[in-house]
């Protein structure tokens, strides 16, 4: 009864094309945004920041990026971890080379650099598809990680081979380095997440998104109606890598602070982000958030319940956690192969009719 579109008439195409056409959705969206921006910063502490909110926000950006490539354009990529590493190392090099420039600018620039690298590694997609392309991106994954490990220039010849984020402030608040202010870091990332989501949504609902989806659904037909497959695929690789790069830069600079490339951006990371996209829902911005939340929050929740609530030993809980998360992934994929976003869509369709069955 509450959730309905009856009586909510659209009189212009602009109104009809908006992101949340149903009034209740719109209200909910702004309510969540208001809570995230105006309430959370006042109650946040270091535990919540580092265990829950930061990984969720940063992975959400990475998942959106991969979703553009895999969910919207249909090009499977297993190189997400490596592209995050490109963002991280680009950010590190920029931060150390130009210490006076604002960190936010460095992070955006890292995104652009990653976009360039992503387009380079996207070139094989013009010739190969599906699993074969996945293998080609796997090559990118291993090559880039190797490169960052072996070429000392990338880690400024440091003895440990690690990169460490120098201390940086934004408007006087410490964002990176030791002793950051939790609320400032949180808001900093929140701005990036909201801006990324807004841009992703705009790109996918317009001409660019239709080109990508046309290539995904039937590339031959897309070419017949006038889509240049080269430009469409490369733009997907570019835009996708841009967001993955930003997430990598944030992951390094504000979240981890110190990175050893093989550990932080290995193949595991690629799979983790791919799982987020698949579980959340391919071809859905909301799905990227749901998938990131699922993969980040569930382990934290399980740990709290098993160790904190039931008092089990930590190692047993850690093993059980793997099993439960793995089992739930399979369960969700069987129940709804199109991901959490599709479950949400079905719920909404039912809600529109509720309480009347027809």
């Amino acid at each position: 009864m509450l959730y309905r579109e009856a009586g909510d008439f659209k009189t212009t195409y602009r109104e009809d094309g908006q992101t949340f056409p149903i009034r209740l959705d719109r209200t909910a969206y702004f309510a969540i945004l208001a809570v995230a921006a105006l309430f959370v910063p006042f109650v946040i502490n270091d535990y919540w920041l580092n265990a829950v909110l930061l990984p969720f926000l940063i992975y959400a950006i990475a998942a959106m990026g991969l979703n553009i490539l895999t969910g919207y354009c249909g090009q499977v990529s297993l190189g997400t971890g490596a592209f995050m590493a490109v963002g991280a190392y680009a950010c590190y090099k920029l931060m150390t080379a130009f210490p006076d420039i604002n960190i936010a600018i460095h992070i955006v620039l890292s995104g652009f650099i990653t976009a360039g690298v992503g387009m380079l590694f996207g070139l094989p997609s013009l010739r190969i598809k599906g699993f074969y392309l996945a293998v080609a991106t796997l090559a990118a994954q291993f090559f880039l990680v190797w490169l960052f490990n072996r070429v000392p220039w990338f880690y400024n010849y440091s003895a440990s081979g690690q990169i460490n984020a120098p201390e940086r402030t934004l408007a006087g608040f410490r964002i990176t380095g030791p002793e950051t202010q939790a609320w400032a870091v949180y808001l900093f990332c929140l701005v990036f997440v909201v801006a990324s989501a807004w841009i992703c949504r705009n790109l996918t609902r317009g001409a660019m998104g239709r080109k990508w989806m046309a290539i995904r659904d039937m590339d031959i037909a897309a070419e017949i109606i006038g889509v240049n497959p080269l430009r469409a695929k490369l733009s997907a690789f570019g835009v996708s890598s841009f967001f993955v790069g930003i997430s990598g830069a944030l992951f390094f600079s504000v979240y981890l602070g110190a990175v050893e490339v093989g550990e932080a951006f290995g193949i595991n990371k690629s799979f983790l982000v791919l799982f987020m996209v698949i579980i959340g829902g391919l071809g859905s911005i909301l799905g990227s958030f749901l998938g990131a939340a699922f993969m980040v929050l569930l382990p934290v929740l399980l740990k709290n319940v098993l160790v904190g609530g039931l008092g089990w030993p930590t190692d047993l809980a850690a093993h059980l956690e793997y099993m439960i998360v793995g089992g739930l992934i399979i369960f969700f994929l069987i129940v709804e192969p199109h991901g959490l976003a599709q479950l949400w869509r079905i719920t909404k369709e039912k809600l529109r009719l509720w309480p009347f069955p027809h």
Partner: protein, 272 residues
């Protein structure tokens, strides 16, 4: 009637003159197989031109040559008075040729509206940045093109399904959506590959009506492949008949019907 005639008058009294597409001596080989053997014919502005022939005659290959999917080994394609160099399909599409497919080639994961809007992509030129922030040209183009898409949606009477994902639609409606997607590009030449394949009588009648309306009200030049002889003879102004990659007949439906070679090859002597 001869190929070389300057113009002709259709049965309903329209004068058809200007040649829009001229195929000269097209030969297409796949390895040792000659799918099309030295075929020439033209398509004139405003007419409905049918290509018929038994299975494997090379009709679809002919359409694929026109839409740039295959490049013929020999022969010339003249489009709007200029010789067309070998082109990629997307370049042909941008030059003003739209088509539908024998097996529906819609984008199943997208809604009907999005599918139709893909037909307008060639006229949307806003940059990536403008699209990213959804301002200025990007928003303006979206709304303008939406209006054009809605006009075609009205024309083909598919308003009620515009927000439905294409994968959920029944066959007949999918065919109509595909026609809409081709039409919304406002092509100079519309190619229809078996628009009525697999339809029942009622759906065929509907589709025939839409094809005639498109030709009549929008003035679109149409080339179509169809197996249903009744439909072809009723709809088309001129017919090309192919058999084993050769052209065996060309002319108005009446002329083709009277052509002995055509009767032997295709319409069948057994029925007489």
């Amino acid at each position: 009637m001869k190929d070389t005639a300057e113009s002709y008058v259709t049965e309903d009294g329209r004068t058809i003159g200007e040649v829009i597409l001229d195929l000269r001596g097209i030969t297409l080989r796949f390895g040792g197989v000659e799918a099309i053997k030295n075929i020439s014919f033209d398509i004139r502005k405003g007419e409905i031109r049918a290509i018929i022939g038994p299975n494997g005659a090379g009709k679809s290959s002919m359409l694929n040559v026109i839409s740039g999917f295959y490049n013929p080994q020999e022969g010339e394609v003249w489009f709007r008075g200029e010789r067309r160099p070998p082109m990629k399909p997307y370049q042909v599409a941008r030059a003003g040729v739209a088509r539908t497919f024998q097996n529906i080639a819609l984008f199943e994961g997208m809604t009907v509206l999005d599918n139709i809007m893909t037909g307008r992509l060639n006229d949307m030129s806003a940059g990536l940045l403008a699209q990213a922030i959804w301002k200025g040209k990007a928003e303006r183009e979206e709304i303008e093109n939406r209006e054009r898409a809605e006009r075609i949606i009205d024309f083909l009477e598919i308003q009620h399904i515009r927000k439905t994902p294409v994968g959920r639609l029944p066959y007949g409606l999918k065919k109509r959506v595909e026609l809409a997607r081709a039409l919304v590009a406002e092509p100079d030449l519309l190619l229809l590959d078996e628009p009525m394949a697999g339809m029942n009588v009622e759906e065929k009648e509907d589709m025939s009506r839409y094809i005639l309306d498109v030709n009549d009200e929008l003035g679109t030049t149409i080339a179509l492949i169809e197996h249903d002889m009744g439909v072809v003879m009723d709809l088309s102004d001129r017919v090309v008949v192919m058999d084993y990659g050769r052209k065996i007949g060309d002319g108005t439906p009446d002329e083709v019907r009277g052509n002995q070679e055509v009767i032997d090859a295709y319409l069948g002597v057994a029925h007489d």
